[in-house]
């Protein structure tokens, strides 16, 4: 314990400072101004000498084990430094330096000093200040100050700063030092266990081993505490004085001293710290390790803090005297040096914090609050400590009262321990008993739960047992009363019965096997029957042939039919059903390569299974893709060969096909062969006509199979695929389906519907009553995307289609006959028209003559401007059969381009006229010619009164044209004045008015009953 009185000196006016001469005056001054003295206490750390004694050997052992040299052993320690502080009796004190601290708290910095045991490496001092950016250091680069500048709120070292320093600064310094010295980079760092040295620093670096001094041994062991710090501080003070003297050399007056002191700031202090630290000698640094490493510091050259310090102190005092601090004594200096170690009071701290805030408001340092910890080891050591201290108290205390309390405490504690021991014993006993109880309870429960094996056996009820069981087993006398005996008896009975049943079971099993054997035998016999029956069938074949019984062929067909693709199958089924039901003139057969079809089916199944096991497939596909890529790289455009293959595949037909023979009563027949295009998924039809009598003429165009079935339903020319998906498939390979029709047959729409295929049409069809196709009602099996096989559809379509085909054939035959006739005709009268019709519709005499009749091409037709409007409204399309008829009446020539619809005569021939009579007239420049054209194109219905008449429509129309030309020429002659007499036409037809109405219409309309012509 050390108590000192310190005086805080406050001077109101700097002038009066000069008058300060004696303490006597000073005390008076103090009294006058009601100054008071402030007591401040410092406390030396209580030292644990025992630990201190035990520690050095441990260190030594460690050093020997690990092989540290003195260069590698470091010690670091902080010390507080009041950088702006003079010994007590100097008059330097400021207005602000009042109580409670003569040393202004903010003048305090913490300095971390460190060096190794050899004194070789003096670490750069670390200065911890309470502010991040002190005003005095503004503008200085902190790294150039010669120290490491750090800051914390209190101006103390914190664990955070220390850890950072170790990692950021010291480790590198150590490393460099070791490299320079050419020694291993392994450092033993000895630290006291101050709060600023957290235990975690031990783990910060692999190369730095941290050894903490035992608690409370700092003052005894810590090398830095053994004189280095003291020396440093003394040097600091001395240098401060020296500076002071330098500053005030000339004037030597107090004012300049104060002036200097006022200016004295952190920067100056740092300069002095650096110099002072340099001044600390190597010997000093090495010597202080003596206590910690007594055996290692051999080269001790006699540094002794106790010798050195007073010298410096003296030095200081003499210096102080120079600055007219006459009253300074060495004791004051010592006191000052000592005071650096003191802790701060709360007020100090408050003031410190405030001033820190003032100094730099922007500074927002967050000090990491380290959680308090009290490890058990620490606790036990504390308790041990208490014990030892109590012991010491007891041993040393002069105050018996006090020591007795200690003894009493110990006694009662011993008593407590005894009591607890007995309680522990009893508790243990209790535990044992409780365990035993639980065990017994468990046993009891197990016993209660026990069931004997026979309880699970189902026994016959007691009554039944007595009825059924023989006397010797049931023994009613014994068992009725005794349940146990009864049970035994029942069990025995059960056993007996079970034995019987097992025997029965065995017997039955044997019987079953025997039966199975016989069944096998019979099956074998049955199997051997099949070849024999086949042989018999084979034998009957000649007979069948002879008797024309198609039994066998039918069977064969049935077999092949199974191989048909589903659309063709539908077709086959429907067609043969229709034929059987209504139409004996229809013959349906299946032809084709049966083996190929079988193979195809097998292949399909294969692909299906392949799809199931896709993992195998992936690789193949990849390879395929690769090869495809290669191929693409080889040639940008597809090889011709490749393309051919593609086309072949695309247009591939199923090997089987269905042939339908439609016979007419006259003995003519149409053979339609239906194919299925596998890739395109459409049905195509080829058609051929077989006539009873060979036609003489070569006009086979009209009845050739190729076009016979065109437009069986409207707009069905069989040129394009009805499957919309095919457009893309074909486009990709640049196939024009119409180029391949001769090979594939034509994909007529009616063929699709006969086969039950329905495609969504590109045009929305307005459902009309007659041919509405309600596909939703048809029960069908899905075939692919957008395709449905609809049986019902097919069935509905079949009669219509067959009839249509018949009608078509009939019409075409009729047309054919007419065309043959027209081809040879050279006059109007040679146009073959039934006499009755002729009489009915035309006057007796016709002057205009049909000169020629010839087919023309679409290009010819298109070239004529008279056909333009007809083409524009698409009444005539390239599907039509086109002819040119020429009529003459003298020098007047009428050209009629006749377009016969493929659906003739359901669709009527359409005529386009042009007239040559001095000039070329067309409907555009001759309203009358337009009317004539209208007469045949619009009013044809007057010529036909029945359906059969329609077959003669073409000759009728031609005849009509001839008559019209008569009328035209005669009517024209009637009103035109100045024609030459040869150009005039004598009026032979009877009409009243050659012209009528604003359009001057000619009388083209014939009234057969009156035999006159009139305008419409």
């Amino acid at each position: 314990m050390q108590q000192r009185l310190k005086q805080a000196v406050l001077l109101e006016k700097p002038r009066e400072l000069a008058k300060v001469a004696s303490s006597g005056w000073f005390s008076g001054f103090k009294n006058r101004y009601a100054f008071h003295n402030v007591k401040l206490c410092g406390e030396a750390a209580s030292a644990d000498e025992a630990s201190a004694r035990a520690f050095p050997p441990t260190v030594k052992k460690l050093i020997q084990e690990e092989g540290y040299t003195l260069d590698q052993i470091f010690n670091l320690d902080e010390t507080g430094l009041y950088w702006k502080c003079m010994p007590t009796r100097t008059y330097i004190s400021k207005n602000e330096a009042h109580a409670p601290g003569f040393k202004a708290a903010k003048d305090r910095v913490t300095v971390l000093l460190g060096a190794n045991a050899s004194g070789d490496l003096k670490l750069k001092p670390v200065l911890v200040y309470h502010s991040v950016n002190p005003r005095a250091l503004k503008g200085y680069i902190k790294s150039t100050l010669g120290i490491h500048f750090r800051s914390s709120k209190k101006g103390w070292m914190t664990g955070q700063i220390f850890s950072d320093l170790l990692v950021d600064v010291f480790e590198n310094v150590f490393k460099k030092y070791c490299k320079k010295k050419n020694i291993d980079f392994k450092i033993l760092l000895i630290l006291d266990n101050a709060p600023s040295h957290p235990p975690t620093v031990a783990e910060l670096s692999d190369n730095i081993k941290v050894l903490f001094l035992p608690p409370n041994t700092t003052s005894l062991l810590q090398p830095m505490d053994q004189g280095v710090i003291a020396a440093f501080k003394a040097y600091y003070l001395r240098r401060t004085f020296k500076k002071l003297i330098e500053a005030t050399e000339e004037g030597n007056d107090k004012a300049s001293v104060l002036q200097f002191w006022k200016k004295f700031n952190m920067k100056h202090a740092i300069d002095i710290i650096v110099e002072a630290w340099v001044e600390v000698s190597k010997d000093c640094l090495s010597g202080v390790w003596r206590k910690l490493l007594p055996n290692l510091i051999h080269d001790f050259t006699g540094f002794d803090a106790s010798e050195e310090l007073p010298k410096i102190t003296e030095n200081c005092v003499s210096l102080a005297k120079q600055v007219s601090f006459a009253e300074v004594e060495s004791a004051d200096v010592e006191e000052l040096l000592e005071s650096h170690c003191e802790d701060l009071s709360t007020e100090d701290l408050q003031q410190l914090v405030d001033s820190g805030k003032i100094e730099d408001a922007e500074d927002e340092e967050v000090q990491d609050a380290k959680p308090r910890e009290l490890p058990t080891s620490v606790l036990s050591s504390i308790l041990r400590e208490v014990d030892t201290q109590l012991q010491r108290l007891e041993d040393n205390d002069y105050n018996a009262e006090r020591s007795r309390i200690a003894v009493r405490v110990r006694d009662s504690r011993e008593k407590t321990a005894e009591a607890r021991q007995s309680v522990d014993g009893v508790t243990l006993q209790l535990q044992n008993l409780l365990y035993e109880v639980a065990h017994l309870k468990k046993e009891v429960r197990r016993c209660l739960d026990f069931q004997s094996a026979d309880q699970e056996i189902d026994l016959v009820p007691v009554e039944q047992f007595y009825v059924e069981a023989p006397e010797y087993i049931s023994r009613p006398a014994d068992t009725v009363e005794d349940p146990h005996e009864q049970r035994l008896a029942r069990l025995q009975w059960e056993l007996e019965q079970r034995r019987d049943q097992t025997q029965l079971f065995d017997k039955l099993t044997q019987e079953k096997e025997a039966v199975a054997e016989t069944i096998n035998e019979q099956e074998r016999k049955l199997a051997s029957l099949a070849p024999r029956i086949n042989a018999i069938l084979e034998a009957t074949r000649p007979l069948q042939d002879a008797l024309d019984l198609p039994i066998d062929a039918k069977r064969e067909q049935q077999r092949i039919v199974q191989l048909l693709p589903s659309p063709l199958y539908t077709l086959w089924v429907q067609a043969s059903a229709y034929g059987e039901a209504f139409d004996p003139f229809i013959k349906v057969e299946v032809f084709g390569d049966v083996d190929a079809a079988k193979k195809l089916i097998v292949k399909e199944e294969d692909t299906r299974t392949e799809n199931l096991s896709e993992s195998d497939n992936d690789q193949d596909q990849q390879e395929e893709n690769l090869s495809r890529k290669k191929r693409n790289r080889k040639s940008q455009k597809l090889d011709a060969e490749d393309l051919d293959d593609g086309v072949k595949q695309m247009l591939g037909l199923h090997p089987l096909f269905v042939k339908i023979n439609v016979n007419t009563k006259e003995g003519n027949s149409v053979v339609i062969t239906f194919y299925y295009m596998q890739t395109l998924r459409i049905v195509t039809a080829k058609c051929s006509v077989h006539l009873q009598e060979k036609t003489k003429c070569a006009l086979t165009d009209v009845i050739s199979g190729d076009t016979l079935l065109n437009c069986l339903v409207p707009d069905d020319d069989g040129q394009t695929s009805p499957n919309p998906a095919n457009f893309f498939q074909l486009n990709r390979l640049r196939i024009n389906l119409s180029d391949h029709l001769s090979a594939t047959g034509r994909p007529y729409k009616w063929a699709q519907s006969l086969s039950g295929l329905s495609f969504s049409s590109s045009k929305q069809t307005h459902v009309s009553g007659e041919d509405s196709q309600d596909t939703s009602t048809g029960a069908g099996s899905s075939l692919g995307d957008g395709e449905m096989v609809v049986w019902q559809d097919s069935a509905e379509q079949m009669p219509h289609t067959i009839q249509a085909i018949r009608r078509r054939l009939q019409a075409r035959l009729a047309l054919h006959a007419q065309l043959v006739n027209l081809e040879t005709a050279n006059s109007t009268s040679s146009i073959a028209i039934p006499a009755e019709l002729l009489r009915q519709h035309f006057p007796g005499k016709v002057c205009s003559e049909l000169k020629s009749w010839r087919p023309v091409t679409w290009a010819d037709y298109e070239a004529s401007s008279s056909t333009q409007l007809l083409r524009e409204i698409q009444v005539v399309t390239p599907q039509h059969l086109l002819f040119m008829a020429l009529f003459d009446r003298k020098h007047v020539r009428l050209e009629a381009l006749v377009a016969v619809s493929p659906d003739h005569p359901i669709k009527v021939p359409v005529v386009a006229l042009s007239l040559y009579w001095e000039d070329h007239f067309q409907t555009a420049n001759s309203p009358q010619l337009r009317l004539m054209e209208k007469e045949v194109n619009v009013h044809w219905d007057e010529l036909v009164s029945s359906r059969s008449d329609r077959l003669h429509l073409l000759p009728l129309i031609l005849y009509r044209l001839a008559v019209c030309l008569d009328v035209y020429t005669e009517a024209y002659s009637a009103h035109a004045d100045a024609r030459g007499p040869d150009a005039q036409f004598h009026k032979e037809k009877i009409f009243f008015r050659p012209a009528r109405g604003p359009d001057r219409a000619f009388p083209f309309k014939y009234h057969p009953k009156l035999g006159v012509f009139s305008q419409r």
């Binding site: 409007l869 007809l870 409204i873 698409q874 009444v875 669709k907 359409v910 001095e918 409907t923 555009a924 420049n925 001759s926 309203p927 337009r930 009317l931 054209e933 209208k934 194109n937 619009v938 009103h975 035109a976 004045d977 100045a978 024609r979 009243f992 008015r993 012209a995 009528r996 109405g997 604003p998 359009d999 001057r1000 009139s1014």
Partner: protein, 337 residues
């Protein structure tokens, strides 16, 4: 479908009439149908110069069983003439959904040989409330609209009468016989003047015939054409003053359109078996040639109130619309959508 397409192909527009103030345009064709157009939208757009086009017909009336050869407009009625009938329909009813005739006058069928005569042309004299009907029985019948009775019959042609017009006190008719007869009906039954254009060498085209299918009157001037070329006659001197240039084919429509926009130079419209319509001045200079969607034009209708609108049609299902005499504005289909 093919049949109806073919029927449309041979459709011919014969006559037109527009209601007072051009609210409605009625177009008659060879099928006895009258297509009714609502012009109110076009009227409004002309005023604001938006330039709206004439849409399709707002309705089509089955007016007659035979062709609607002629039409004329009075303040209240749209009068149409067909074979044996002259029928009046109220303009305001035409627009509504009524197609029944307000009145009908039947022509007498006294000459069996001719059959029922057709009404080739109609003219209206608003001053006296008379309608003149040029008929197929070689005569022009005059009907009083008040009574519906035939008040007079103008006879003089030796063939059927093609056209009749009236202007002021005069009535002029032209016929298939090639005569142009000018009457003053007040003065008596005999025609005041007789003209025979085919006898003029400048006009005659014998190979086309002598018929005069169209004529028009304006003050002292008369224009006519048909088989012969179009000529302008001065009625006081009965002299042929101008021969209008025309193509080699027959003429079916001639019209004075002095009041029409662009007609200030005396605008005479000439049309016929030509795919275009000519506008000439009184001096015989062609001032405009408007293309036509019909190869042959039978009817030209020109209105000048409240604005000039000329529509013409013939052997097609379309009529062409102009808003002055200089160019065709657009073409409208007569078919219902």
């Amino acid at each position: 479908m093919v049949l109806s397409a073919l029927k449309n192909l041979y459709t011919t527009t014969f006559s037109q009439a527009s209601s007072p103030e051009s609210a409605i345009l009625a177009v008659g064709n060879n099928d006895g149908k009258i297509a009714v157009f609502d012009l109110s939208g076009v009227n409004a757009s002309r005023e604001t110069s938006v330039g709206e086009r004439l849409g399709g017909p707002c309705r089509i009336i089955n007016a007659h069983s035979d062709a609607v050869y002629s039409m004329v407009s009075t303040d209240a009625f749209c009068i149409s003439g067909t074979t044996g009938l002259v029928t009046g329909r109220r303009w305001d009813e035409l627009q509504q959904q009524q197609s029944q005739a307000a009145w009908t006058i039947s022509l007498e069928c006294d000459q069996a040989n001719f059959g029922t005569p057709e009404v080739n042309s109609l003219a209206y004299d608003p001053g006296r409330g008379l309608v003149y009907a040029a008929c197929g029985d070689w005569r022009t019948h005059v009907f009083d609209l008040e009574t519906g009775k035939c008040t007079q019959t103008l006879e003089g042609h030796d063939d059927y009468v093609h056209d009749v017009v009236t202007s002021g006190n005069l009535v002029a008719s032209s016929g298939e016989d090639g005569q142009v007869l000018v009457w003053d009906p007040r003065a008596g039954r005999e025609p005041r003047h007789k003209l025979a254009p085919h006898t003029h060498d400048q006009l005659a085209r014998p190979h086309l015939g002598r018929f005069i299918s169209s004529l028009d009157l304006y003050n002292d001037w008369l224009v006519c054409g048909g088989g012969p070329r179009v000529g302008i006659f001065h009625l006081r001197s009965l002299a042929l003053t101008t021969v209008l240039p025309s193509a080699k084919s027959a003429i079916h429509a001639t019209k004075f359109t002095r009041h029409a926009e662009g007609g200030d130079r005396g605008g005479i419209v000439i049309a016929g078996v030509l795919p275009h319509l000519c506008v000439c001045s009184m001096a015989g200079v062609v001032t405009a040639q408007l293309p036509s969607s019909s190869p042959c034009i039978y009817t030209v209708n020109v209105t000048d109130k409240p604005f000039t609108m000329m529509t013409y049609g013939g052997t097609s299902t379309k009529i062409d619309v102009c808003f002055n005499l200089n160019y065709r504005d657009h073409t409208v289909s007569l078919l219902e959508d």
